[in-house]
Amino acid sequence: MLSAPRYWREIRYRYRLIGSRCLKCGKIYFPRRLVCAVCGSRKLEDYKLSEKGKIKTFTVIRRSPPLGYEKNVPYVVAVVELEDGVNVLSQIVDVSPEEVKIGMPVELTFRKVRENGKEGIIEYGFKFRPIFE
């Protein structure tokens, strides 16, 4: 498991869904990068990603979750395509797993992600929930 310090190192970006945008070619990244993988430029700025997107693909974890996730099953893990065109992997919450569909519109929500280590340090981060009109 990723140690708590390694998780916390990135919280600024995790909490607010901040990625990078290349000032030269315009490519948007999440997670953030120091060098553009497309054009090689080192001039990238922090970029606040859209908080809305749609489910590109998903699964419902029902058995054999990672250690420490036993109480969470069933839970939905999905790739969400944000309005910026960037993909992020996350969980879909506030919905019963049977209702989740590819193409479903979702929005950002801030949640507890897991408890880490013997001390049970609580890690927070982004998840997504369906947008019901």
């Binding site: 590109k56 693909t57 974890i61 790739v79 993909n87 992997l89 992600v113 890690e123 981060g125």
Partner: protein, 386 residues
Amino acid sequence: MRRVAVVGVGMTKFGVLADKSLREMAFEAFKEALEDANLAPKDIESVYTAINADHFSSQVSPGASVMEYLGLNPKPNIRIEAACASSSAAIRLAWLDVASGLHDIALALGVEKMNEAGRTTAEIIQFMGTGGDITWENHYGPTFPGFYAIFAINHMHKYGTTKEQLAMVAVKNHYYGAMNPKAHFQREITLEQALKSPMISYPLQLYDCCPISDGAACAILASEDVAKKISDTPIWITGLGLGTSSVALHNREDYATIPGTVEAAKQAYKMARVEPRDVDVACVHDCFTIAEIMAYEDLGFCKKGEGGKLIEEKQTYIGGKIPVNVDGGLKAKGHPTGATGAAMTYEIVKQLRGEAGKRQVPNAEIGLTHNVGAHGTYVCVHIYRR
């Protein structure tokens, strides 16, 4: 580059081999390959030992420990890691050693001991999951079966692939596993059994998943001059491809394909100067049933999206268009990760020599192995010819 042939292959039975250590399994496979090639240990000039995980062996440099037990010190050896494609990567490097003229005879050996007293299935699956992006994705609990489930649901959505078609892959591979004395599972299953098995990660059920196995397999490669001298049945390696895909799922564009497979296949076909339709028998990476269906398509055995139809029409059985995994595949033969690629080579060599017994594909001349590391991070495609 010189022509290179496989002159000897060996493998242990795959399964939960509680009474055998990592090194003992490796030696058993090595011994069979030496006898098969009619060679002595002193003839081996270079060795690549493929082991997926130090986590399973509880030893750094487990390949060196295997090398010592084979009795081959102080000859050249490097341990190779390419996740579940480790031993195909070892074969690639052994091929390079021989093709380049650096050595005349090289050994590629893969071994893994996944089951160990006191280690739970949950721990093993937890560890397999760390093949994903641990900084940005693993804390959402995707799991290793979950990665392939994410591909499966996307494939179903895009192409109309059904859960029945997924289960048909498992039924086929168990059918052939039942004929393979070295398989982990040597029993047939029915479609109903597969569809009634517990849901692991929707849409993948228990029978969509390969088992957690122990085992070893290896291949001895030789230059053309040597191969013609020592073997009546050299099997030539005519094409090699190595492709890669991102570790993080967020860096993929299409979730119904393995980009590394498409790339590796393109390289291998070009080098061997063959087309997908020329392949007579194939071993593809079916760690999950959806992986075999994606492999049919990504390797060009059918059009993209028609993999489900291909299994439904039984075209991947012996007698069909392209027999696939007639050794039982990872699904029934088992998947001791580091050994899997070499075990595919073992099967293809036996098939091309006409030594596959009840599972023989008639008159097989060209064979293909397709070995995927993790969820596509490494992919090796090799083409063999008799």
